[in-house]
């Protein structure tokens, strides 16, 4: 089956030589089977040229997988007519990852903490918690259908 991923990579260097930035955008259909491939592709671009980056690689893989899963399953309800957009801004010091779905959005402040003893036996509800623990900053747009995660490079 041909891949339905639309990938675009733009590299730019600041005119004053202060550093370079890369913008990676990617659009994927609402299919959970696509998630691993997208995580692999985006991680490869985020860490291109970085040698000993194992720690940030793991964090990137987990939070991107989490955000894509939320977007596809909860946001777009696995409706294959709907898309998920990924935008990664790669600077010298930070990586900013934005994942946007076409769903109605949700209120992130209403998601309960999953680590209370009575919650431990629950199968769901750890995704957003893990994202918050593994990145340096998390923001949502007002509608709640777009998450922006910032990771500082080591």
């Amino acid at each position: 089956m041909p891949s339905r991923l639309l990938l675009c990579v733009r590299r730019s260097t600041a005119s004053d030589g202060a550093g370079s930035a890369t913008l990676v955008t990617l659009r994927l259909p609402s299919e959970i089977e696509c998630i691993e491939e997208v995580v692999e592709l985006v991680t490869r671009h985020c860490l291109a040229g970085q040698g000993a980056a194992a720690r940030i690689r793991f964090r990137l893989q987990v939070v991107l997988s989490e955000a894509l899963s939320n977007a596809i399953v909860r946001g777009n309800r696995e409706d294959r007519a709907k898309w998920v957009d990924v935008r990664a801004e790669l600077g010298p010091d930070v990586i900013r990852l934005e994942v946007t779905d076409e769903g109605p959005g949700f209120d992130p402040s209403a998601v309960p903490e999953p680590i209370r003893p009575e919650q431990l036996d629950e199968a769901n509800g750890r995704g957003l918690f893990l994202i918050r623990k593994l990145v340096d900053a998390v923001e949502f747009n007002e509608r709640g259908n777009s998450i922006c995660m910032t990771l500082r490079r080591p």
Partner: protein, 111 residues
């Protein structure tokens, strides 16, 4: 990539997670464990020595499998978590829910 199931000489059903345990394949692992329970297996080990990353759906699948195994009167052990993988269990406090051994050998010895 996927799940590799073997039966240890001591009679423990061992499942090795090769690659990722994520929303896209967690059902496959749950089905494997259910099939093992249906066959009468009661001692199960899931080994992560060859695992890249786990997402929250993968963690959730482990929680529900653990419950099923307990209800069937069985025991589940986990092994082979590297520092990154272990941190996921610690952050979510799931290290308090599972019996986690450093290596598969240690896990097998603990049954």
């Amino acid at each position: 990539m996927g799940f590799h199931q073997i039966k240890d000489a001591s009679g423990v059903a061992v499942v090795q997670v090769e690659g990722q345990l994520v929303v896209g394949n967690r059902q496959e692992l749950k089905d494997l464990v259910q099939a093992a329970l249906d066959r009468g297996e009661r001692r199960l080990l899931i080994d992560f020595s060859r695992t890249g990353y786990i997402d929250s759906s993968g963690l959730g699948a482990l929680v529900s499998m653990s419950k099923k195994i307990r209800e069937a009167g069985g025991e589940l052990r986990l092994s082979g978590l590297n520092e990154d993988l272990r941190s996921l269990f610690e952050l979510t406090k799931l290290d308090t829910l599972f019996a986690i051994a450093e290596t598969p050998k240690q896990a097998l010895a603990s049954f």
